[in-house]
């Protein structure tokens, strides 16, 4: 029995010693001043480059952790409150509502630097009157046409319809303007062209969740127009994103609305194209990407200063623009863009509105997607489909407590 207790005390002592050693080493790690940055693959090396220079100057390590862009939001929701999250993260402005109501972001003060960013980009990153992000890129969709089939950019959707009918009659193209099914994001420019909208704006120019415009007169007019196109066989009713791009690239469709992410494949297809604003002044959604600061950062001041002093420079913003395939939100970089395609996207985006970041938007996607599907598949009258969608959104937002 004596040896037994000797062994037991050995276990106990060993356990305590090992735990203390472990605790001490984690403590040492925690004490070193550092900033953790979460970025996606495209931007990791840029932040690493800036971080190296920063570390050299101040001895503060910038730890870049790479993950898929879309994962950053979900990871932050679990890692942030657990104290395992980043100090700085990159993300899209439409995450704001979700992240802010969950208390995951700290406000950012850009000071005088704010003047160097596009005002729409800053507006997009503003939630409840506070700025939560430092933008680097703006993206939006624009109107593409096959210049062989449609030499001049149509000004109105009526014109688009006429061109489509004529092309079909002359046998030059199977379809006129093509749009994918169940895609509220790509449908919104068409909807807003006719005066429709998803959420109205309140007096502070922020989205008002009590003003749902999915069944407004303009929204139904837009749905009726596209319904007519499908009925006349000028637009396929059941095409997805890949299909409409394939149709456009093969010359079977003359017009399409898409974003800068499709430029590469359209150029590769060799189809002659030109980019112009949405007909009838349609407002594409603006998607803004930027850097945000976690509310759980232990070094909020340092994180903020790293953003304004080290990342908000023309050189870094130029690198981010080159890596990102989307027009810059930094005015001097945006003004220096010579590529006519990006200039055209910027022109189409001039009338755009930030994609709503309010959490109520999550009730919109499936409802409007379904209304689009029912209309496109010719299963419902467009007015019925969009009225149902609006009611579904209102029911969901009202909730039940």
């Amino acid at each position: 029995m004596k040896t037994r207790s000797a062994w037991l005390s050995l276990v106990l002592v060993a356990t305590i010693v090992l735990s203390l050693a472990g605790a001490a080493s984690t403590q040492a790690q925690d004490d070193a001043k550092q900033l953790v940055v979460w970025t996606d693959e495209n931007r990791a090396s840029i932040v690493e480059g800036v971080g190296a220079a920063f570390e050299e100057e101040y001895g503060i390590k910038i730890v870049v952790q790479q993950m898929a862009f879309g994962d950053i939001r979900d990871q932050l929701k679990t890692a942030g409150p657990a104290g395992e999250g980043p100090d700085i993260l990159i993300g899209a402005h439409d995450w704001l509502g979700e992240l802010v109501i969950n208390g995951l972001l700290a406000p950012i003060d850009l000071g005088d630097k704010a003047e160097e960013f596009a005002p729409t980009a800053l507006q997009a990153f503003t939630y409840d009157g506070e700025l939560y992000g430092m933008p680097y890129g703006i993206e939006n969709v624009a109107f593409f046409r096959n210049t062989d089939l449609v030499p001049d950019a149509p000004e109105t959707w009526e014109e688009v319809g006429e061109i489509a009918a004529q092309l079909k009659e002359e046998g030059k193209a199977e379809y006129g303007y093509v749009i994918q099914i169940a895609d509220t994001y790509h449908y919104n420019p068409l909807m807003t062209s006719f005066g429709g909208y998803i959420f109205g704006l309140d007096e502070n120019n922020e989205y008002d969740p009590t003003d749902v415009g999915v069944d407004s007169e303009g929204s139904i007019a837009a749905a009726t127009w596209i319904d007519g196109q499908i009925e006349a066989g000028l637009t396929p009713g059941e095409a997805d994103w890949d299909t409409i791009h394939a149709l456009f690239e093969s010359g079977d469709a003359a017009m399409i609305i898409t974003g800068p992410w499709a430029l590469e494949r359209i150029q590769a297809s060799g189809v002659p194209y030109a980019i112009s604003p949405i007909p009838d002044g349609g407002k594409p959604f603006l998607g803004v990407q930027g850097f945000m600061i976690s509310a759980f950062s232990s070094e909020p001041l340092l994180a903020q200063a790293f953003l304004t002093e080290y990342l908000a420079t023309e050189d870094v913003m130029q690198q981010l623009f080159e890596a990102g395939d989307r027009p810059s939100a930094f005015i001097t970089v945006a003004d220096a863009i010579e590529d006519p395609d990006y200039a055209a996207f910027a022109e189409a985006g001039a009338v755009g509105q930030p994609m709503p970041a309010i959490p109520e938007m999550s009730a919109v996607w499936t409802a409007v997607n379904d209304a689009i599907t029912l209309t496109f598949q010719q299963q419902s009258d467009p007015a019925d489909a969009f009225t149902t969608a609006a009611e579904q959104i209102r029911t969901a937002i009202a909730g039940e407590e």
Partner: protein, 532 residues
Amino acid sequence: MKLAPQGSARGGVKPLAPFSGRVSKIALRLVALAILDAFALMFLTRLWADEVWFLAVSVSVITLGLNVFFLSDRFYPFRWFSPGLALIILMVAYPIVYTLYISFTNYRDGNLLRQNQAIAQIENRQYLPSDAPLYGWTAFGTEDGHYALWLVADDGSMVFAPEDDAARVVTADDPQIAELDEDNIPERFGDYERLSVFTVPSGFETRTFGKPPETIKIETQYKAGQYRQQYVYDAAQEAMIDQATGVVYTAKRGTFTAPDGSTLSPGYYVPIGLDNFKRLVTSDAIRGPFLRVFMWTFAHAILTVLITFLFGLGLALVLNDPIVPARRVLRSMLLIPYAIPGFISVLVWRGLLRPEFGVVNRMLEDVFGWAPSWFADPVWAKLGILLVQLWLGFPYMMLICMGALQTIPPELHEAAKVDGANTWQRFRNITLPLLLVTVGPLLIAAFAYNFNNFTVIRLYNQGGPPIPGTTTPAGHTDILLTYTYRLAFAGQRGADYSFATAITLVIFVLVAAITLFNFRFTGGWEEVSESV
């Protein structure tokens, strides 16, 4: 120390205790245990600090158990179970208990934090009294670790605010100023040296400068002033009190709410009893399409099992017949759909059936001039799902049927033949009953699996086509799980995890009932096999 004989544990000899065996072996075992305990202890302190109670309890139970098993002779046999037991507690028991717990809270977007986290964040907010001036700031410090702020107002006036003394206005002719720059910031002020925002110590933004009541605080990188804490938590009335306006925000279901209905975010999660389950039963929005979805969930699971089983059985019977040539090659080829990950095959089918460019529809249109709209028509959409399920499921059924067919003694068939039974009679009265004995439980397991087959439906058509005119978005091919996924993650305020867990639990109960039924039912079949 006495040395016990090695390797004699087998065959009824007293089992090896931790204190018998060679010293080096014992030491190794105990050191391993100590390392494990050390890790567990470190993990536990972390969990304790983060207030993750459930996981902390689970880890404690596991660690204690392992120690008892490895230190006591009495629990010797448990040593061999311990990894399995540990994993069951960690991966099965803990998630179930945790899910149960979450289903009784309002854990969802807007209420994700713990109460103390939410309070800390709200209490962190500051406001600037309307008459107080706003400054830009620069940090200053002495060599022996005293810090101060150099404040410059919009009009260029300067204030020096050390940590331990009252803030005072400074004029440009002050003798302590050295090298004033164009922004009215000096390089040195007396013993104080100018610091950059990157060289101040951690937590600099939480320090206060000057003397009460006129203390200066940093608000942002560019702003400082006589900021005051805006909200103070009053534990007695569970409320946040706005110091600037006096408004009282009372905690209501984890959200601080003012009398006029405005709220402070973030909220925190609180127990709300059975509300999530009540909502599942009483909400009109949810009940609307619920019955339809419920019926299709059953139809989908039953039909999927039925068609895959029948097709698989047919193939197994054919391949079991020695007159079929190249049976091995055929068998291997028929297993290919099983070997390809479902993720891929579902997407391939989706492409094949696509209306515009899909191969199937193009061919049908060329031949018949008509093709079904697989994604728009409710009936064809359901048939499409079943077609995909058939493709994914038949090789498995074929495989288990082939195995089961081997176990049926050929004498029975010969005897039946002698008695004059025809092929159908022999199949109906001998093959099928004996087959079902082995395959029956698997069929019920397959039913339970397809009852929750989220992946196929989500990947194939997301539950579409939509049902027109419903109170909440729903599709013709939505099963319970895809439907509730829409409800829980496309609700009014983003994701509603607690509601999702409540639904999961209801589905869990349903599936558990099916499993129970499975045991009973197969018990009955066993009697059949005995009487054959």
